[in-house]
Structures are given as structure tokens and as C-alpha cells.
């Protein structure tokens, strides 16, 4: 089996622009959640959101492209630019593939365009209508970076980002591309904010994963992008390897369109499949970046799934939800959390779960409450669970 390594990473989210800012925020246990400014939050249960402030087109982006880019496009472009620069890969030369996970695509701009139409506004930017499909961002990335390899968009709700990484791994193993630019992106928009609000899934205060009093999630936005490549390909060109991508597992709950299976069987199946695909034993896992949305149901079922798949090991290792800092970034979440795993592998600490004050008897594992913790880890997992019962787990390993 061909081995897959990560040679570049890029990030933008509420904690800052760039992987350095993200890593420092995780180490300093900083929270990126603040009152929403992108649109009027009156009428909603909360104004809490993990928003990317002052998002502007980067200087290197051609003005003609910047003018047509959606908010999602911009986030993805910024993260991809950093990942490609770090990897030192020539995006145009090598048939670089692209896989992106996203759920809303150009919806943030399109819903405003639609609203303007509803109120009969005369002058509208009709080009916005073209940015609606979720696959638009991949085409924009391919055009800007000159990528000539395969492209695909994954949209499996909140597991989109993890599945995008998984498909990239399969492409490299099957020799469909020597290297793949992959990750996840989503931007905040009224459709998702109002939807989670209507489902009573938003906490009024910053989300409290695994806390007894948790009452739902906090939405966020951002992007994380990676360059994945075949290990020998990376070695041959002298690239610096950030981590090895050992494998992933995916399952469906086949249970309910919004609610996860309460027994966690689907989530446990994804964990087990990820271990099998990675040829890793449960007792080799040193840290888990949890899905940890802070909904009452998720955190209990995820705890059950971790115990089912990892056995006694689940009680001995740190597990944390970085959504308490960066919010739930939906299609970007899996990719952002993969980056948190890489930070843990490389920097010798595990990120915390913030706002965890009152332990829940049903959530009785070590969730690294409130402060990051110095801790060397070698093999880590990240979980992502989406609407419709889409479960994905990934396994990464440090190098050296």
C-alpha cells in the first residue's frame, strides 16, 4: 500500500489567519467566539459565532478573481495558498488534484442576492448567481493555482472536510494523482444560522462540549487546506513531512435525518473502520480530537462510541473538542480538526475543551478541560459526524 504524507497546511478561522496563529491560540487556550457581526442576529437564540473578522481578498489574488469570489472561495483560497507555499509544491506542474469538503458553497452571497430580488431591488450583481453550486470553490482554486488534476467536492454535511481528506488519500493510494490539495471550507450564512436556530441546536452562550449543562453548538466559519502526497514523491523532492495520513473510515447511521444514533454504533463503526484501514491498534491511539459539538445527544453518543471502539484505551488518553474555540465550522470542521491534530503531533501539547466546568456523569473521559496540556502524542484520531448520519474518522501519525 502506498503511504500518504502531509507536506503542507493552511488555515483561516476565528482564531486567526495562518497555521501559526491557530497553533498559538490552541496552546494559549484562546476562544474565538464573539458576537456575530456578519448579519443581524436579532430574532435568534444567540448572537454567539466564531466569525472570521475583516476578511478581505489577499494582495496576491487578481482583482478580477477577487471580485467574483464568494466568501467561501476567499477562505479556501487563503488556506490553500498557505498550504501550497509550505509544501513548496508546483501546483501547475504536477497534475495536482483538488478535493474540497463544503456544505454551503456560495450561499452567503447568494442568499443576499435572493433577498434583494424578493424586495424588488433594481440593481443586483447577477454574477453572484453563478457562485451558488458547492463545487464552484474547487473550480476557482483550480483556475487560480493552475491545477490540472482531478477535482471533486464532497458534501456530507459536518463530515465533509474529513471525507474530502479521505477521498484524497484514496486517490493517492490508487495513483489517481501524485499529490492532492484537499481540505474543507464553509462560511457563515443566514440559512445555516437560522436552520440550527430553528432546530434549537444553538447554545445561547459559547458552546460547552461534554459539560453537564451543554445546550448546543456555536457556529463558526473558516477553512483548512493540506497538501497530501505519496511518501516517496515527497521524499524525492525533499519536501518537509508534517505528518503521515494513516487512513480513514466512514459509515452511515441509517437512523434519522438530523439526529445521530443514540447508541453511537454508527460512530463506533467509523472509528473501527479507520483503525482497520490504518492498520493501527486501539492501544496505539494517543489523542482524539472529538467531533464534540456540545449538543446533548452528540457528546454522549461519541463518548459511548469511543469506549466501544477504543476499549480501556479511551479512559487513558486525552480527548478534546476544539469546537469550543473555533466553533462548529460545518464542512470545514473535519479539516480544521485534522490541523489541530497535526499541531498536537508536532508541538507536544494537546488542545483543550473550553467552557467545561461541570462534568457530565455520562461523559466520563479525559476531555482536557479549559487549558491545553503539554503531552507528547504519536498517533491521533479525529471524528466528524454529519446530518443524515454520516460518520467519518481519520488517523494521523507524527514523523520522527
Amino acid at each position: 500500500m502506498r503511504r500518504v504524507v502531509i507536506t503542507g497546511a493552511g488555515s483561516i478561522n476565528a482564531l486567526g489567519n495562518g497555521t501559526r496563529a491557530f497553533a498559538e491560540a490552541l496552546r494559549n487556550s484562546r476562544c474565538g467566539i464573539a458576537p456575530l457581526t456578519l448579519f443581524d442576529a436579532s430574532g435568534y437564540r444567540t448572537s454567539c459565532a466564531a466569525e472570521v473578522r475583516d476578511l478581505t481578498p489577499p494582495a496576491w489574488l487578481k482583482p478580477a478573481v477577487a471580485r467574483h469570489s464568494s466568501r467561501s472561495d476567499l477562505l479556501a483560497l487563503i488556506a490553500a495558498h498557505e498550504a501550497l507555499a509550505q509544501a513548496g509544491a508546483d501546483s501547475a506542474a504536477s497534475g495536482l488534484g483538488i478535493v474540497l469538503g463544503t456544505t454551503v458553497g456560495g450561499m452567503p452571497g447568494w442568499e443576499e442576492y435572493f433577498r434583494q430580488g424578493l424586495v424588488g431591488q433594481r440593481r443586483r450583481r447577477h454574477a453572484v448567481a453563478l457562485t451558488l453550486p458547492v463545487s464552484t470553490s474547487v473550480d476557482v482554486l483550480a483556475a487560480v493555482f493552475g491545477c490540472s488534476g482531478p477535482r471533486l467536492t464532497l458534501s456530507t454535511a459536518c463530515s465533509s472536510g474529513s471525507n474530502a481528506l479521505g477521498v484524497a488519500v484514496d486517490w493517492i493510494r490508487a495513483e489517481r494523482a501524485p499529490a492532492v490539495l484537499c481540505g474543507g471550507v464553509d462560511a457563515l450564512c443566514r440559512m445555516t444560522f437560522s436552520g440550527f436556530n430553528a432546530l434549537q441546536a444553538l447554545d445561547a452562550v459559547p458552546c460547552r462540549p461534554f459539560d453537564r449543562d451543554r445546550a448546543g453548538l456555536t457556529l463558526g466559519e473558516g477553512a483548512a487546506m493540506f497538501v497530501l502526497e505519496e511518501r516517496e514523491h515527497a521524499r524525492a523532492r525533499g519536501a518537509r513531512i508534517l505528518a503521515e495520513f494513516l487512513g480513514y473510515g466512514v459509515s452511515a447511521d441509517a437512523h434519522h435525518i438530523t439526529q445521530p444514533r443514540p447508541d453511537g454504533a454508527g460512530a463506533a463503526q467509523a472509528l473501527q473502520r479507520a483503525l482497520d484501514d490504518s492498520r493501527v491498534r486501539a492501544d496505539e491511539i494517543d489523542y482524539v480530537n472529538a467531533h464534540g459539538t456540545a449538543t446533548p445527544l452528540n457528546d454522549v453518543l461519541e463518548t459511548r462510541a469511543l469506549k466501544a471502539a477504543l476499549g480501556a484505551r479511551a479512559h487513558r488518553i486525552p480527548i478534546s473538542s476544539t469546537k469550543s474555540m473555533v466553533g462548529h465550522c460545518l464542512g470545514a470542521a473535519g479539516a480544521i480538526e485534522a490541523l489541530a491534530c497535526i499541531v498536537a503531533l508536532r508541538e507536544g501539547f494537546v488542545p483543550p475543551t473550553l467552557h467545561l466546568e461541570h462534568p457530565d456523569p455520562e461523559c466520563d473521559l479525559d476531555y482536557v478541560p479549559n487549558r491545553s496540556r503539554p503531552h507528547a502524542v504519536h498517533t491521533v484520531m479525529s471524528n466528524s459526524y454529519g446530518f443524515g448520519g454520516n460518520n467519518t474518522s481519520i488517523v494521523l501519525r507524527g514523523v520522527g
Binding site: 430574532g43 435568534y44 467574483h68 497534475g95 456544505t103 435572493f114 433577498r115 424578493l118 448567481a129 453563478l130 457562485t131 451558488l132 453550486p133 458547492v134 463545487s135 464552484t136 474547487v138 473550480d139 483550480a142 483556475a143 493552475g146 491545477c147 490540472s148 488534476g149 482531478p150 477535482r151 471533486l152 467536492t153 464532497l154 458534501s155 456530507t156 454535511a157 471525507n163 477521498v167 484514496d170 490508487a174 489517481r176 443566514r190 440559512m191 437560522s194 436552520g195 436556530n197 430553528a198 432546530l199 434549537q200 466512514v250 459509515s251 452511515a252 447511521d253 441509517a254 435525518i257 438530523t258 454508527g266 463503526q269 473502520r273 454529519g386 446530518f387 443524515g388 448520519g389 454520516n390
Partner: protein
């Protein structure tokens, strides 16, 4: 690359529900394109809409009530495909049955209605029942719930290649042993907002003069007619299909996917960059370089896409082009994001029945186009190897090599 057997076909299309009705209508040259009622004067009126079908025959009541029309289409196509393959989730093992669905916009009409309520009535009055259907993976999730299958479940999107890409990902799931059987395909729906966008950019037939119609590859083609529908294919390893004595409609030998330079929102102007990529794929996957008997393209009656496809294929096949039959089914079903899933069905049935599906409204090709274009009636022909070709706005390109299953 291990070939993948196609053993079941489920279709919900403007020209028929189910494999048999679809194929009969296609071979009879029937088009699902009709004038839509209540269209304002001066605007394009044609579209290929789905006939009403009994969704309750395919989807159980708690889901039937909640599922959006696109999800119902895909669940129905999945059930039809499994029945056609003479498989059940239990016979496969529900944890080994995967699902891959391709869609561009999911049920965009639901999203529009949701936003209309949000912006006119306020956040407090939007229905929590509507929101779950707005995620693109709703259809794949309803299918898993309906069939009780817990295997890999992925929803993909890549513009007009969403259907082909879902099938490609499905084949790879089996090759990577992530599933034994995969239901793969896709669906999309007609909607006023998509029609408005095509109209705004003057891409619909009749908007730049001439009669409103859909005539892929025809010299007088003048724009797109939109459609809707869905199809799901049962994919499994050839060994497994043979072992259980299944009818193998066709084998998917391999696929390739690449990008050529294009503006993100338009089809490429030129095919020169794609030609060496496609040629290299065919050299890798085909027994003989001139071995392709039939190409099922994605031509949708637009000036640019159809011309780009013929240009690409001419560059790739050279002098052999005269022996290659070329067809597209968009004149029958219209253009929509996941139409490629139906094109794939047509290609499988074409190699199975050894019949070239006709080109609706075709009279004569562009000057100098060297192919043996399908005619307006079906033609029996010795077909061993077929190529499914798709080019999306933005320059993404997919080719899939399909062959007749060995006796």
C-alpha cells in the same frame, strides 16, 4: 485497475421510470422535453420535467412525508436498481452496502422556499422540518435510512459531472474494499432560480434566435433546454457478480478525471489541453488504440460544449473517428447537474443491447466533424467498448471506459 460490474439500473427520468421504460423511450427517439405551462410571453418555455410517479411505492411513510422531491427521486431510483440487480440489503449485508450520490444543488426549490419564509416571516417562523432537506447529502441519507445500509455514504458534487463523479467514487470504494456493493448515481431538479440563471446568461435555447429545441451535436443547435431526474446504478466486483450469476449490463473498466483551463463558470473554449490526457487514458485502458465503438458524450445543445467535445474527440481519435459512433441523450432528458448518471445508464444499456441510442432532433453535424453520429432512430451496431465523456463548466473533465461483459 479491477473492472467493476454494473448489475442493476434504476432510473427516474422525463422519458420513463425504470430501466425498461427508459430504454424503450430512448431507443424510440422520444424526448421528455415539453412546453411548460404558465411561462410569461417571450421567455423560453421548454423543459424536460419528470412525470408524476408513485413515490410511496419506493419509500416508506415516515420518510415519504419528510423527504424532498430530489430525495424521493433518488430513493426510488435506488430501490429500482436493487430490484433490477435482484439484490436486497440483507443479501448484501447492510454494512457492506455503500451509497454515492452526485448532485449540484440538491433540492434547490426547498432552499428557495426556506429562504423566502426566512426573509418574509423572520427567523422565528422558519420550520425546523425544512432545514434538514437543505443539506446536499439529504438524498443519500434518506436512501441509507430507507434501505437500512450502514456502509460508506458519500455525496459529491462537480458541476455537470456530478453523476459521473459519484459513479467513479463508487467504483473506487469497491476497489479500495470499503464496500462490496455500491448504489451510485445522482439527481437534480428543475427550478425557477436555475432557469433564471441560465436565462440571465443567455444560455437557453431560443434566446439568441432560432427555434427553441434541444439538438446535441447538430449544426443548428442554439442553446440548452433544462431537465431533471435521477438514476442509480448497482456496482459490484465482476467476480462477485459472476459468482451469483447476475446479469452484467456492462463493466466499468476505469475512469480518469482531470482539469483544463477554463473560467470557473464557463465551458472551456478549446480542447487542446485535454486531448493528450484523454489519449493517455485510452492507451492505458483499451486493448487497441482504435477500439472505442461508441462515445456517450455530455453535449447539451450549447454551441460551446458540443463544439468542445467534438474538437476533443477529433484530436484524440484522428482518422479512426469515422468508425466511432457518437451520441448524447440530453435531447431526450434535458440538461441538469446529475444528468451524467443517466448518460452512464444509457452507455451500459447500449453495450448490453448493442444499440446506439439516437440523437433527438439531429440533422447534420458541424462541417468537418468526422464521427459516425447517431441518427434520430436507434441503430443496431457491434459495440464492445464505449466511452462516457463529460466536460463541466470550469473545465473539469471525466472519461469512463465501459465495455461489454464477457460471455
Amino acid at each position: 485497475m479491477r473492472p467493476i460490474a454494473v448489475t442493476g439500473l434504476g432510473i427516474v427520468s422525463p422519458i420513463g421510470i425504470g430501466r425498461q421504460d427508459f430504454w424503450e423511450a430512448l431507443c424510440a427517439g422520444r424526448s421528455g422535453i415539453r412546453a411548460r405551462p404558465n411561462v410569461a410571453a417571450g421567455l423560453p418555455r421548454l423543459a424536460a420535467a419528470l412525470p408524476t410517479f408513485a413515490a410511496r411505492d419506493f419509500i416508506r411513510s415516515p420518510h415519504l412525508r419528510r423527504a424532498d422531491p430530489v430525495s424521493r427521486t433518488i430513493v426510488a431510483a435506488a430501490r429500482l436498481a436493487l430490484a433490477d440487480a435482484q439484490l436486497t440489503p440483507e443479501s448484501i449485508g447492510p454494512e457492506r452496502l455503500g451509497i454515492t450520490v452526485g448532485s449540484v444543488l440538491g433540492d434547490i426549490n426547498e432552499s428557495v422556499e426556506y429562504l423566502r419564509r426566512l426573509f418574509t416571516k423572520g427567523a422565528a417562523l422558519v420550520s425546523p422540518m425544512m432545514f434538514p432537506n437543505l443539506v446536499l447529502n439529504a438524498a443519500a441519507s434518506y436512501t441509507a435510512m430507507e434501505l437500512g445500509c450502514t456502509g460508506a455514504n458519500l455525496t459529491v458534487s462537480q458541476g455537470e459531472l456530478s453523476g459521473e463523479q459519484a459513479i467513479a467514487v463508487g467504483c473506487d470504494l469497491i476497489r479500495a474494499q470499503r464496500a462490496d456493493v455500491v448504489l451510485a448515481g445522482g439527481g437534480d431538479t428543475l427550478s425557477d432560480v436555475v432557469t433564471a440563471t441560465y436565462r440571465r446568461f443567455r444560455a437557453l435555447s431560443g434566446q439568441r434566435g432560432g427555434t427553441e429545441w434541444s439538438s446535441p451535436y447538430d449544426a443548428h443547435r442554439n442553446g440548452v433546454v433544462l431537465g431533471e431526474g435521477g438514476a442509480m446504478l448497482v456496482l459490484e466486483s465482476t467476480d462477485a457478480a459472476r459468482a451469483r450469476g447476475a446479469t452484467i449490463y456492462a463493466e466499468i473498466v476505469d475512469h480518469c478525471s482531470f482539469g483544463v483551463a477554463a473560467p470557473p463558470y464557463a465551458w472551456p473554449r478549446r480542447a487542446a489541453a485535454a486531448a493528450p490526457r484523454l489519449r493517455a487514458f485510452l492507451e492505458r485502458t483499451l486493448p487497441a488504440p482504435a477500439g472505442v465503438d461508441l462515445v456517450c458524450g455530455s453535449a447539451n445543445s450549447s454551441r460551446r460544449l458540443d463544439g468542445c467535445e467534438v474538437d476533443l474527440l477529433t484530436r484524440v481519435f484522428g482518422e479512426a473517428a469515422a468508425g466511432v459512433a457518437l451520441t448524447s441523450i440530453k435531447g431526450a432528458i434535458g440538461e441538469f447537474g446529475a444528468a451524467g448518471a443517466l448518460t452512464a445508464v444509457a452507455a451500459c444499456l447500449a453495450v448490453h443491447h448493442r444499440v446506439v441510442p439516437p440523437l433527438c432532433n439531429f440533422r447534420r453535424p458541424d462541417d468537418g466533424a468526422p464521427f459516425r453520429f447517431a441518427q434520430r432512430t436507434a441503430e443496431s451496431r457491434r459495440i464492445e467498448q464505449a466511452l462516457i465523456l463529460g466536460i463541466a463548466r470550469g473545465g473539469a473533465t471525466v472519461a469512463m471506459h465501459v465495455r461489454r461483459a464477457g460471455e
